[in-house]
Symmetry: C5
């Protein structure tokens, strides 16, 4: 599980049926205290928490978990946004996102 | 799941039976806004979306998902092309591929 | 499985129900002899060992294992703190944490 | 799945029973057009395609797939050689291995 | 699966019950011909092959395999020592460990 910022959307008309009703997001891992981007953008699906570009979110990156969250045993999906981050505390400091 | 460009084909006559009816593709992750290649080429199988060299695609890289898409519980495959990308938007800009 | 230090907490109100009763931790892998941080912080859930910021812990990073520890077949969680490190020995030296 | 060259063999007498009848290979990922090595050597098991040192092969690196190929639900194996590469084409060029 | 050297032990009293009867080892991947360390130390559990500090071993790093070797469907373990390396051959040279 990692903390990421939602940075974009992806659209495609030809895709697997399980993906048709899903919002495809581009997310990028960030350092939760400094918001510094870590690594490249990757794709994720919103897991019912209502995230969109600008949201700071929890992403779970494992197929079994993704299928549990989406309640779809056949979803060909590995990374799902499963929470919205309100705040993070580290070393006595707190960073608020909400 | 990541966005990639299909960059080549691979052929082999001696291979596992489940691979025999599959088109073996070489894909490389790209930055979806700049098309800059990210990392090395890897192999994937077309999951019925009709991709080929030059296509910009969604690749899912997890065994359970791959077997769902291919409707083959025994397929020894981990990465499958599961969609064709039409467009990507990020930071107010949109990149169109189709 | 790796050795990490718990370095922070994460809070969010909108999240998947399985996460609601869990303490969300930020952990960072460390070299167990020198305590040097290795790589970026990642998220984990306490698996009933009572860890918190400052604890040096064992983290298991695999979905099937996480669900076993939490005794929740539906938990969308991949990394769980499954032990507290008392000491580590390497090359004839011992480092004590407890 | 990736393309690799078989570069060596590994022997051990004390090992898990499922490994006893398997040929243990050292493989290293290569760029399929230039044969440039990518990353470190890793271990794989031949999945019935008759590979050996010098072979250019397809390696699948996922536990579920490995157990399917080996037809052994209990095999503690993650990487299996599942095909021999005959040729690769990319950007209008073709590299032949067989 | 990779080749590693066992470089240390880890102890902890508060841990998940499945870990209680296991010997926790620190292993580090090595180049099997030169013994050069590759990457950071990680944790593994001995899978009944009797390894300890100084042993050159085969490590399997996948949850399903780990649970097969340990014959414990609930073990929250991902990396297990599943063999002792006797020798490795590459490029006409042989390196003996036993």
């Amino acid at each position: 599980m990692f903390i990421a910022e939602v940075i974009g959307n992806v659209w495609g008309t030809r895709k697997h049926p399980s993906l048709e009703k899903r919002r495809l997001l581009l997310v990028r891992a960030i350092d939760p205290m400094t918001e510094k981007p870590l690594g490249e953008a990757q794709m994720a699906v919103d897991g019912g928490v209502g995230s969109g570009p600008g949201s700071v979110v929890l992403v779970i990156d494992e197929g079994g978990s993704a299928r549990q969250i989406l309640k779809d045993k056949e979803a060909p999906i590995r990374a799902v946004v499963c929470g919205i981050v309100d705040s993070v505390s580290m070393g006595g400091k707190t960073k608020r996102y909400a």
